[in-house]
Symmetry: C2
Subunit: 544 residues, 2 copies
């Protein structure tokens, strides 16, 4: 079982040094410390274990080190920054694992950009040696890239010419969409295995600058000082909060967290995911919230939800459907929404909200079906209402005897955007945009018929039909082709505008997934299969 | 060899009746008239041959029947409008063929929307029976959809539940992006094999209205009258021009058209595609151009280019690289650009320009590499400059002795947009948008060094290096994995904004291609393989 939790005392591949407002994050991959058998992590190449640490570091920088304003990512290995994802790991992994590995590394790169965009931390890739493949893709996720000019070090995307696959972590999209490299130059760069060195790399926009070895350190330091001056308005002496390990118990049927419960029905290939709403009387001021730290419900519940989603993706591939439920008091959820909205400019509250948004986007991007089940005692309100809107379908009990309600809250107004930049209400009401404001302005709760009228739920079966209808819906869903569902959900979930993130997860990922099962990549004579072997790849040259 | 040319006297599957400003296009597929062996086209299901006719009809409506303002698409089969792409054809086709078949049908649907958007012709789907799968996707490409309410007829997308694949002709994207169907309803609709009938189909936005059988015809006629009134401003009594069969000679080495020459180097897996520029002294007024008809260079050359591209896609799968060249006088190309720009509001000139734009987009979407070779005697100017900008790379000879030039023209200013809505110059200069105007304002021609400075070419080898550099570039390109190149090019060619078209060709196509090779669809126990057999599909339920 792959564990997505880690903490600084367990890091094996990264060295994090914090010096006031500057964090230096150095990659120093231990080649034997792999997450699976059969390969060595040479030349700062990485597997999922290395990236789990990186994701953890970025998360902790945001919560534990609010005073850090510049993050320098570099390497402790001589002449090599990072060689990208380990090829032998890729070559020996199942299709499903490769796809989920790429998705997680993509989410981690997006988390760097999310930190830069929303929290103002500047990321600087200090390439003290060659950055190839995923190594260069990590650099491109940073705000600025500096390359040493030692006559040897280069940036490169050798996936197409060497491996017959695509750069799998957003590289192609970020080349032309983020760095806006001219498409013909991007074409050349992406087909030249050895990549480009300093002068031309700068001319083509692949790096921001290059410096000779003797001046590399001082030039970087000068740039860091400039960035510190430019981010002086973000200066804070506030200490952060500690992110503890999540308290989770694995049972044969699932996982029990403090606020999240995951019950697996493996025979039927679905899971119940139940989220407890917050208690009453949570603190309403940042100082008191800081005291609570990572036990504050919005942080704890969403961290647990995040871990549960990652667990489901990688460790429970046959679970195809998640039935999302909530238990609690709508009043308390709305109170939390109100508190968070009131203090959204406080650094900790901002980070808590941004984390909730990232977790919800992780859900949007999870290749499982989601049904939201709205029943008596549930608390789909405010931030938790997003779970209904994020689900592929929702069912709300229409009961004569019991109260079943939903409600909008402050965080439905734009604090938790999807990857396409829209709120989930905007995505839902593309045809009738006036409905967004109508729903948001409803102070009263939505009972089942009001929710149906407002277009907030898909179906509203009554007491008599509920059990059968839910059972049938689950049976039907889990009987369908899992691949067709993945492609269908990826197409239906993201209507409307596109962003770099949706391009990476929609277009690039889809092409990569296609190539990841082509014989030209993974067949007996495929390029990925034959990499590093005395044998040569033999292609079927038919263009598709 | 599949022939993409046809004409009304050869139609086997469609009946076109033109009554003044109203064209009625009725599908009446002849089940034995298939383009390949091994299946029958029952229930108005279609194969590539049926769609080649449809594409031809839409093209002819624009050029031959400018007076048509409303097109009603319906069926001559009782109780069935169209059952979509033939499943046995799909099940027995190669992966490459399936992909190219879907691409062509997608382009044909986009051509309907292009006609509606730019030429104002209104398309009305009159579903006199069930429209399922590609049948409903054809309807969704129309402006309006009307369904008969006979207690039986429905609209449906049964691909996911029945076949384990996606609707392959833009259906999912158009559901949520064009018709803006709520994503949870789109989810339900796309997983219910039998689809939805009149009332709910209308309520969910899947059709615009439904009428009982007894009122179907008169209701449609009433709607046609309304549309005619609304498009009265487009009324014309002008006759169209005739589109003749292209004059093409097949040789063992390629195809020779009048303006286009295709030379195949099959051993080296590349082709030279040479386009002759226009002669001097072409007419400058619409009346004289109309006299010339389809022999007018911009129409003839681009129709031939279109046919050559389709031929290359389907009949020459192993050709991976097209070297584009032009031969002619820049002055004459610019004169044509000027004439077209001067009269762009004349219906025929507008159609000629729109056709050029569609052909260039067909090139953008062709899964082959394109290198533009700019040499002495070439005429990459104005509309032909778009070929340089559309290419993955360009090489321009830097000669001391001979004149090598390029030039901008009127049609580079926005008349020939890419699928993403940008001009090719805008796409090229995303990083430096001020360059677009700078280039457009250059009256003088670009010699090689000016073109390089302006960022219009990738490389400019001199006389000494040219032959070797081109040879090496061709050898390198054609040695790479064709699949990785397809995915790479699809990612690099469309930076910047996204539209419904780019979503369909980028995201949806990529997912469909992925699914089209998954064992759950096409393996021995896959759903597509087992459709209509006594055996049942058996899925590997791992989610990816």
């Amino acid at each position: 079982m792959i564990n997505f939790q880690t903490s600084p005392e367990h890091y094996r591949h990264w060295n994090l040094k914090i010096d006031g407002p500057v964090a230096t994050l150095s990659m120093d991959v231990q080649e034997d410390e792999t997450i699976a058998e059969g390969y060595k992590l040479k030349l700062n190449s990485y597997d999922l274990g290395v990236d789990i640490e990186l994701a953890d570091i970025i998360q902790r920088l945001r919560f534990e080190h609010p005073d850090v304003r510049v993050v320098v990512i570099t390497s402790l290995k001589p002449r090599i920054f990072c060689a990208g994802a380990n090829i032998y790991m890729l070559g020996s992994s199942s299709h499903a694992f490769k796809v989920n590995f790429c998705k997680f590394t993509n989410e981690t790169r997006c988390a760097i950009e999310d930190d830069s965009r929303h929290s103002g931390r500047r990321y600087l890739a200090a390439l003290n040696g060659t950055a190839s493949g995923g190594g260069y893709e990590l650099a491109v996720a940073c705000d600025e890239i500096y390359l040493v000019d030692d006559g040897n070090s280069a940036v490169s995307l050798p996936e197409v010419p060497l491996l017959g696959v695509l750069p799998g972590t957003g590289g192609l999209t970020r080349l032309v969409d983020k760095r806006k490299v001219r498409r013909d130059r991007a074409d050349v760069f992406s087909t030249v295995a050895e990549g480009l060195k300093g002068k031309r790399a700068k001319e083509w926009g692949l790096v921001d600058d290059y410096f000779p070895t003797s001046k590399f350190q001082e030039s970087l330091e000068a740039r860091v000082r400039e960035l510190l001056a430019a981010t002086a308005n973000l200066e804070t002496t506030e200490k952060g909060i500690k992110l503890s390990q999540l308290d989770v118990e694995n049972t044969p049927q699932g996982r029990e967290y403090q606020q999240v419960s995951l019950q697996l029905h493996r025979d039927q290939r679905y899971a119940d995911l139940v989220i407890k709403g917050p208690e009453a009387g949570l603190p309403t001021e940042p100082d008191a919230i800081k005291q609570l730290g990572d036990r504050y419900w919005p942080l704890q519940a969403y961290r647990e939800l995040d871990d549960a989603l990652l667990h489901l993706r990688v460790n429970e591939p046959e679970i195809g459907l998640i039935c999302i439920q909530t238990k609690g008091d709508i009043k308390n959820v709305l109170a939390v929404d109100q508190t968070l909205a009131n203090h959204r400019d406080h650094w900790l509250i901002r980070e808590i909200i941004l984390n909730m948004a990232r977790v919800l986007r992780r859900l949007d991007l999870t290749a499982k079906s989601f049904f939201a089940l709205v029943t008596p005692g549930s608390c789909f309100a405010g931030n938790l209402l997003e779970l209904v809107l994020a689900s592929d379908r929702s069912y709300m009990l229409d009961s004569e005897d019991e109260e079943v309600q939903m409600a909008v809250g402050e965080l439905n107004r734009g604090a938790l955007p999807m990857a396409n930049g829209l709120t989930r209400l905007q995505s839902r009401f593309l045809a009738t945009p006036e409905m967004v404001e109508e729903v948001l302005q409803q102070d009263a709760r939505f009972d089942t018929s009001a929710a149906e009228r407002a277009g907030l739920v898909t179906f509203a079966p009554d007491d008599l039909d509920w059990d059968d209808e839910i059972r049938l819906a689950i049976e039907e869903r889990t009987s369908l082709s899992p691949d067709a569902l993945t492609g269908m959900e990826a197409s239906l979930r993201f209507a409307g505008p596109e962003t770099m993130d949706t391009k990476i997860f929609g277009r690039l990922t889809a092409w990569q997934n296609w190539i990841f099962q082509r014989p030209n990549a993974v067949g007996a004579t495929g390029a990925l299969t034959n990499y590093g072997k005395p044998t040569q790849a033999q292609f079927d040259f038919k263009r598709t």
